[in-house]
């Protein structure tokens, strides 16, 4: 059931994104030729158009593309001069370190901050944490990244300002520690941005619990705040946190595009921007579909975990 829904949504995304590319005023042949545009005669242009199937109707082109897609062929990226699937594979390997690190960090930190803030409403700690969460929720991702570069890389000189490794070094020569050093700041920036929503949702949930009959009864029996928060609150508040962590993969990826752009980190986000700015239509379409799959799988996991954490949902009682 969920898989059919997923495939319908994927098909819709393919249709919509293909349609968007079709209406774009940017000519794919001009984009492919680039500066050599002037050296190509109209006859040659026609040949290229025929070779690539541009002379056919959009519906036929969509059919071709879809058939190739099902066969696993995403097309050729002219910006990177590689098959699109290779570009996405290589870039995603680099991005996954950034995405995964930031995701884990923001989920754990966000959840614990939310529990701490919600355990004692109105305390100084609560006010500090909520104010912080409200401010980061309104902070532009790329600005935070710029501030981080300014402070830690330019002024303090603790971390490198760019890229995934030292300039000019080959990929296989870069040691693990150097890689980590280059990842540190992007991961921290991306994680800081993701914390806000998880913290606020967890806090709301904790507040509801601390005012509930369960908590009042426990207090009456002499349990301390920490007791109640630890024994009852943690499990109670984990539901929105887990769901949100998986449901926010799209936002995480959006943030990674901006962060990668600022840190010049050669991941999937940077490839997306390059594909868009230099009109690499196959790559752009491939990335759109790939990230949709990524986000949809995240949403599916969130739904499944919902039932694992709260059995009442699985049994249809809620």
């Amino acid at each position: 059931m969920r898989l059919t829904h997923l495939s319908v949504v994927l098909l819709c995304v393919a249709l919509v994104s293909f349609g968007l590319m079709m209406v774009s005023p940017i000519d794919p042949i001009d984009a492919y030729l680039g500066p050599q545009m002037a050296q190509v005669s109209p006859e040659q242009r026609e040949l290229i158009a025929q070779r690539w199937g541009f002379d056919e109707s959009p519906a036929v082109q969509f059919g071709h593309w879809l058939r190739q897609l099902v066969g696993g062929d995403l097309g050729w990226s002219h910006v990177y001069n590689q098959p699109v699937s290779d570009v996405i594979g290589q870039r995603f390997q680099r991005s996954i370190a950034l995405l995964g690190g930031a995701w884990l960090l923001s989920a754990l930190l966000g959840f614990s901050l939310g529990v701490v803030a919600g355990a004692k409403e109105g305390s100084r700690l609560d006010k500090i944490i909520t104010t912080y969460a409200y401010i980061t929720a309104s902070t532009p991702a790329f600005w935070l990244a710029i501030l981080a570069v300014l402070l830690f890389s330019v002024m303090l000189g603790w971390t490198p300002t760019c890229c995934a490794g030292p300039a000019g070094a080959l990929n296989q020569d870069v040691s693990f520690a150097t890689r980590l050093h280059h990842l540190l700041l992007p991961v921290a920036t991306l994680a800081l941005l993701g914390i806000a929503s998880i913290t606020l949702h967890t806090r709301t949930r904790m507040l509801a619990l601390m005012r509930s009959d369960v908590a009042i009864y426990a207090f009456a029996q002499g349990a301390s705040r920490i007791d109640v928060a630890w024994r009852h609150g943690l499990r109670h508040a984990s539901l929105p946190a887990v769901t949100l962590a998986f449901a926010s993969l799209g936002e995480l990826f959006g943030g990674s595009i901006l962060v990668e752009q600022v840190f010049a980190y050669p991941g999937l986000g940077q490839a997306t921007v390059a594909a868009g700015l230099r009109s690499d239509v196959p790559l752009l379409l491939g990335i759109a579909l790939f990230t949709t799959l990524f986000v949809s799988v995240g949403n599916m996991i969130a739904n499944t975990l919902y039932g694992v954490i709260d059995p009442r949902i699985r049994q249809g009682e809620l």
Binding site: S17, I135, F253, G254, G276, A288
Partner: protein
Amino acid sequence: MRLVLTSQSDQPRLRAAFSLGITTLLVMGLVASQWLLGDSAQQMQFDARLAPPSIDHWLGTDALGRELWARTLAGLALSFWVGCLAALLSTLIALSLAALATLSARLDALVSLLIDTLLSVPHLILLMLIAFALGGGTQAVIIAVAVTHWPSLARVLRAELLHLRQAPYVRISRALGKTRWFVLHDHLLPHLLPHCLVGALLLFPHAILHEAALTFLGFGLSPSQPAIGVLLADAMRYLNSGYWWLGVFPGLGLLLMVLSFERLSSHLRRAL
């Protein structure tokens, strides 16, 4: 800030009025400044290039000697107008699709499939696709932001409409033979307007942030306009040379604007 925090639990309406006042003042100041300043955001002073913040140059100047404070204000004003138009358009889309969804079960399924499709593509990627399809520029950004931000509001409005249709006064009105249009226009719309207002206000900060992000990446407003995204993209080139003011102040302005609208909308939602 102190005042806002102390009146936290008891008076949501007072807090809403308070933040409404602050935001209105900010917006009026912004609009008035654009009217008073004219084109000083683009005026170059070649004897004062990349000057640090001082009494003569309040927030410093950029590589062409243009005053950063004037450019930041102009950028915020641009963001404000783009955000307003996008939020308005988005609310209209949400309202009409919500109304469409309540007409029949098949349309309902279609609209929810559309929502699922939109929500499963990362926001920024979709924005880039749409901006790419429209060829970039101010119009493209407004349309892209409007087309991507309506689903949450549409869901709220749809639920509200379904609920309202079962309300006794609507059913009585129907039974008395009033036309569909009359019911929609005289009974349902007045009820939905507060939701639309709050929904549009909730959209607004997101719209501004996404506009700036899109422009920063190079898909949005043209580099000749003093938009916040353009200012920060320019600042990127001078980061390593230590011209910190270029990167700090435009973003700070954007943060303050987004924060004030964000607070206003959440206070309003609580007060209504």
